[in-house]
């Protein structure tokens, strides 16, 4: 049946920018399909210029409240690379533990608070409390654990304070690590409960496939399902590119439907995030994470963007299981005090880590006094914009006959599956008084 559809999900709030979804079709003929992105947090690059290498992390940790540990780690690694600063094995391991806490936190929040309501056919998590109370409580407990885990290692959950170039200002005690390890072991039941709840409604994930390129970190030595070390690879590329050459991967360009820069590598778009990491590194997952992937039928080579949320559940299990092992390794060697002294010098380098929603690049240049003279940050969300647009272009004709409401909902679900970071810089209230 020929359909006429006019969708313009336009969020006009200027400060907290959102992506706009535009679809126009008349009598089944599609006239316009666009993912419009009005804002990206690149302005922060100007803010670090002139600042000391020791201050960069504190500033960039505020770029995003959900990924503040990730931005902190990417910037600290870039500073260390630029200034030739070495980090001990112990500090490196504790940082990875810190990074895992944010992966768990973000993935559980995304799946529990944003994706699950869609799958259960509800507008938000609030009514989900009544419909699936056990699953919601498991999500809340896991989120709380991830928060307290971040507090312990990063000094606080949002905007970490223990990181510094060369190491950390404070290490957890062995007693604290043992307690954390026990809590992680105890959380396995909740992880399984969340996976089971999502599996029970996984049939509501749209069956949509678009072959594309998936880009992520890979680490061969030792082989690791990596979020932190390694080189850049993709499903279209057998080799690996040094993270210092990330601009040759991102190939940023300006799209006329967005003020954010878009990216492409071997095709006209690429995708980053949990599904990209899974597609590049799945054989290196922990045993329980592999079981969860199997449970959902998620296999390497999956090109359904909606399965990103399933890959997030798989990764949540992986980071918990891996952290339990890493704490064993730290405890076996014992936590030793460290004091770090660094000195400035001129240099330019990049740092790269996997944010929960995909690969993140930071690059800085410093003068001989260690003051920043240039910065370049490429966030995962910008790397996904072109993929969202290409998904829209393939998906809309496939679902057009379902009518305007279904098209709108499915496109919104598609955007949510990427969990774009387009409105994280402020969170102020907007109220009117009713009493």
């Amino acid at each position: 049946m020929a359909k006429t559809v006019n969708i313009n999900v336009h969020h006009v709030t200027r400060v907290e920018g959102h992506g706009n979804i535009v679809v126009n079709a008349t009598n089944g003929k599609i006239e316009k399909v666009q993912w419009q992105v009005p804002e990206a947090p690149r302005f922060f690059e100007a803010m670090v210029r002139g600042r000391s290498y020791e201050d960069i992390q504190t500033i960039v940790s505020r770029i995003c409240g959900i990924c503040s540990i990730t931005h902190s780690l990417a910037s600290t690694k870039a500073v260390e690379n630029a200034l030739g600063i070495q980090v001990s094995e112990q500090a490196d391991k504790v940082r990875i533990l810190m990074h895992y806490s944010e992966q768990l936190q973000s993935h559980i929040l995304h799946v529990g608070y944003l994706v699950a309501p869609d799958l259960f056919g509800l507008p938000s998590v609030v009514p989900l409390v009544a419909k699936a109370p056990d699953a919601v409580m498991a999500v809340i407990r896991l989120h709380r654990l991830a928060n307290e885990w971040s507090d312990l290692i990063a000094g606080r959950t949002t905007h970490p304070v223990t990181l510094k170039p060369g190491g950390l200002t404070k290490f957890p005690t062995e007693k604290e690590l043992r307690e954390l390890q026990q809590r992680l072991k105890n959380s396995v039941g909740d992880l399984k409960a969340v996976a089971a709840a999502v599996l029970s409604v996984a049939g509501n994930l749209p069956n949509f496939t678009r072959e594309t390129e998936y880009v992520s970190l890979k680490q061969d030595n030792p082989p690791t399902y990596t979020f932190y070390h390694g080189d850049i690879t993709s499903t279209d590329y057998d080799g690996a590119v040094s993270i210092h050459d990330w601009q040759s991967v991102a190939n940023e360009y300006v799209s006329d439907q967005s003020t954010a820069k878009w990216t492409k590598w071997h095709r006209d778009s690429y995708t980053v995030g949990a599904l990209a990491r899974f597609n590049n590194n799945a054989p290196l997952l922990s045993p329980m994470a592999k079981d969860v992937a199997r449970m959902f039928g998620l296999t390497q080579g999956c090109c359904n963007p909606f399965m990103n949320s399933v890959a997030q559940i798989v990764e949540a299990v992986h980071v918990v299981e891996t952290s339990i092992e890493m704490i064993d390794e730290l405890l076996t060697k014992g936590i030793k005090p460290e004091s770090v002294k660094t000195s400035p010098r001129a240099g330019k380098a990049s740092g790269c880590v996997e944010a929960p929603r995909g690969i993140l690049f930071h690059q800085y240049e410093f003068d001989r006094k260690g003051n920043c003279v240039g910065a370049d940050i490429c966030i995962p969300t910008n790397q996904n914009h072109a993929a969202i647009q290409k998904d829209f272009e393939k998906f809309v004709p496939e679902i057009l006959d379902e009518g305007e409401d279904a098209v709108r909902l499915k496109l919104e679900m598609l955007v949510r599956s990427y969990d774009p970071c387009i409105s994280c810089s402020t969170h102020m209230l907007n109220v009117e008084f009713v009493r």
Binding site: L109, M137, H159, R416, H427, M428, L429, N430
Partner: protein, 156 residues
């Protein structure tokens, strides 16, 4: 150990007046010894994490930048039932958040404090830059005094 009262400063100090909550809570942190039953937390733009900061408390006090239709620099004390959020959320991302909706979820979960008070401060400027506008900066002492009186009343 969680203290019975929590004061949460919300916002982003890289976005001018949006950082007023974080600025004020950092000032309170320096006089925290005066308030043995109060935790002062810089919650930044952590969104849903607020849920876990207020759980198990008797009272939560939020300090946040707020568009309230007032003159820039105005501070207003209100409770969640006195206002209605007019904020449009796209529900596209975890990165958008609204404290009033988080409080509604806390209520639904039975994890909300008995008392919730919000101090909203109307911004003069919200843009990418560090530091408060002169309008807010000139009134910082007034803000601190109003919040102190709330804490002295609540610490009882």
């Amino acid at each position: 150990m969680k203290k019975p009262i929590v004061v949460l400063g919300l916002g982003n100090p890289l976005m001018a007046d949006d950082g007023i909550g974080v600025d004020l809570v950092s000032r309170f942190a320096q006089e925290a010894a005066r308030y043995p039953s109060v935790d002062f937390i810089d919650a930044g733009t952590g969104g849903m994490s607020v849920l876990h900061r207020i759980d198990g408390r008797r009272k939560a006090v939020f300090i946040d930048c707020a568009y309230m239709g007032e003159a820039p620099g105005t501070i207003r004390r209100f409770t969640p039932d006195e206002v209605r959020s007019t904020k449009v959320l796209a529900h596209q991302s975890l990165h958008e958040a609204d404290v009033l909706r988080i409080l509604a979820l806390a209520e639904q979960l039975g994890q909300a404090p008995q008392q919730v008070v919000i101090f909203g401060i109307q911004p003069q400027v919200v843009e990418v830059r560090q530091g408060l506008s002169g309008v807010l900066l000139d009134r910082v002492e007034q803000y601190l005094a109003e919040i102190r009186s709330e804490l002295e009343k609540g610490a009882g």
